[in-house]
């Protein structure tokens, strides 16, 4: 006759049940975990694949651009036309921006400098900061918004309406005619526009000094110039050449590779501005490191 189940048996059953339950949840967790791992892996692979694809696409396009830029039959007329559109048409906004930059910079720094009795250093400070950093970057960002998006939209709509295809099947090279000219024009015009902005910023700075306290123009000019060195100008100009390249290249790439359908034209213009702006900031950060390493260490 069976007596009451001994305690040890009960605890034994508990142990087994517990073991089974934990085992199940362990394996469940394990499966979930491995699922997750596989998911993450496929996602990482997909991202990696798309990154590699994009890098390949960029490299291919860059190669095409270089090949076509040394090819016979450079489109000088189209280059001149693009310089006109890109440079001359951006003239007013760049002038205005440069002037206001110099003016505001002076008015902003004048009081604090005065507190140290160093207002005579203001022209030099404004000249250095405007020429080395502020004018190149601001002009480049303005050009990214104005030129890069314009190129993106223009080439995008040409691509959507099969004009680029038409050029290609006619036996002409659309990259040579459309892309190389636009990038070259940007490389030429962005440094020029920046120089213009530099000059006007000094003028604006002078206006600011006139309001704040007054200094004769020759004196102001001499002070500004004496604080500037060759090592301020050269890296700044080299930097703007790269800015110009990025502005033209990104606009062309986005426009040239826009998809079918009209909405992709807007997208091309939009992403041209964003991408170009990011690149400008990145290049600026790299440039400052290089300049510092070369000149001031």
């Amino acid at each position: 006759m069976p007596g009451p189940i001994p305690n040890s048996h009960i605890s034994g059953v508990f142990v087994i049940v517990f073991a089974i339950l934990t085992k199940i949840s362990f394996w469940n967790n394990f499966y979930q975990f491995s699922d997750r791992l596989i998911y993450m892996k496929t996602k990482a692979f997909r991202t990696l694949k798309s990154v590699l694809y994009q890098v390949g696409e960029q490299a291919g396009f860059l190669g095409l651009v270089f090949k076509n830029s040394v090819k016979k039959g450079f489109e000088w007329n189209e280059l001149a036309h693009q310089c006109y559109l890109i440079g001359y048409k951006s003239f007013p906004i760049v002038t205005l921006t440069g002037f206001v930059l110099g003016f505001v910079l002076t008015l902003q720094s004048e009081p604090s400098m005065k507190a140290f009795g160093a207002e005579s250093l203001v022209p030099g400070m404004v000249a250095i900061s405007a020429i080395r950093e502020i004018c190149p970057v601001i002009v480049a960002l303005i050009c990214a918004g104005k030129i890069s998006s314009g190129i993106g939209a223009e080439l995008g709509s040409m691509s959507v309406t099969e004009q680029i295809d038409a050029m290609e099947v006619s036996g002409a090279s659309p990259v040579q005619y459309l892309v190389v000219t636009r990038i070259s024009a940007c490389i030429l015009m962005v440094p020029l526009l920046t120089s213009l902005a530099d000059a006007v910023a000094l003028l604006g700075g002078y206006m600011g000094t006139t309001i704040a306290g007054g200094m004769s123009f020759p004196l102001y000019f001499r002070k500004a110039m004496s604080s500037l060195a060759f090592s301020d100008l050269v890296p700044a100009v080299i930097k703007t050449i790269f800015f110009g390249f990025v502005i033209g290249y990104v606009g062309c790439f986005k426009g040239y590779h826009s998809n079918r359908g009209t909405e992709s034209v807007g997208r091309a213009a939009n992403s041209a501005v964003v991408t170009a702006s990011v690149w400008i900031i990145v290049i600026d950060a790299i440039a400052v490191q290089i300049t510092n390493a070369l000149y001031y260490n």
Partner: protein, 248 residues
């Protein structure tokens, strides 16, 4: 009429998982006008874009003068394209250029004609041929759809190509202009001994221009013959093209 100019065999093309071209086979012979018929979206434009190398087929072969298009290097491809005219369905005029510049573009960029008078003479000739001499200084945006189409045609024929691929040359034109364009196509064929593929939905144009007609349906060529032969067909896919006015 025995030499094969274009030869297409087993052409297949898939877009986004949808097979548009399943098995296209046909040839175009020298000095022949081949008309492609087919419902909208059957892949007629895709087919001729594969011929000129704008699209790459998934499978199959496209040969021009016996040479595989996919195997051509850049300079060969360019040479082939110089000899081949292509009229886009949407005309594809360069909209930042005037009509004159549009027509001058292939002359100066591709044929490298430097003499301005020669260029001007050919532009006027081509515009005369499509009946639009007075549009020479207009921008494409100032032209009507039909006019743009005709300028596109002028730009295609101005380089005097040996092969011409017409994507709906008469769509959007009034019957009189349509008739003139068809006559022009025939005249070009006679004068320059061209070989052409003409995609059209305009049966009158097909009747005038076709030496041979091919009907594409669901990605395959389902019929081939002269206009008169196909007109008699009772096949439900072919019959409606020729008797679209309704049965007697």
């Amino acid at each position: 009429m025995n030499h094969k100019v274009i030869e297409i065999a087993g052409l297949k093309k898939t877009f986004d998982g949808k097979q548009i071209l399943k098995n296209i086979n046909f040839s175009v012979f020298e000095n022949e006008n081949l008309v492609l018929l087919g419902r909208s979206g059957e892949g007629k434009s895709v087919t001729i874009k594969c011929i000129i190398g704008l699209l790459e087929q998934d499978e199959g072969s496209v040969k021009i003068y016996g040479e595989e298009v996919l195997d051509m290097n850049q300079s060969r491809l360019k040479e082939m394209r110089t000899k081949t005219g292509f009229l886009f369905q949407g005309a594809a005029l360069y909209d930042s250029m005037t009509v004159r510049e549009n027509l001058a573009f292939p002359l100066t960029r591709v044929l490298k004609i430097r003499n301005r008078q020669d260029v001007e003479k050919r532009i006027i000739e081509a515009l005369d041929a499509v009946g639009l001499s007075d549009a020479i200084n207009k921008m494409p945006s100032d032209l009507s759809g039909g006019m743009r189409k005709r300028i596109g045609l002028a730009r295609t024929i101005i380089v005097k190509p040996k092969i011409i691929l017409f994507d709906e040359p008469t769509t959007g034109l009034d019957p009189i202009s349509s008739r003139e364009i068809c006559d022009l196509i025939m005249e070009i064929k006679r004068k320059y001994r061209t070989s052409s593929i003409i995609i059209t939905h305009d049966m009158e144009c097909a009747r005038i221009t076709a030496d041979r007609i091919i009907v594409i349906h669901e990605g395959e060529c389902i019929a081939e013959g002269t206009f008169e032969e196909l007109e008699k067909s009772t096949d439900p896919q072919i019959h409606p093209f020729f008797n679209w006015m309704g049965d007697p």
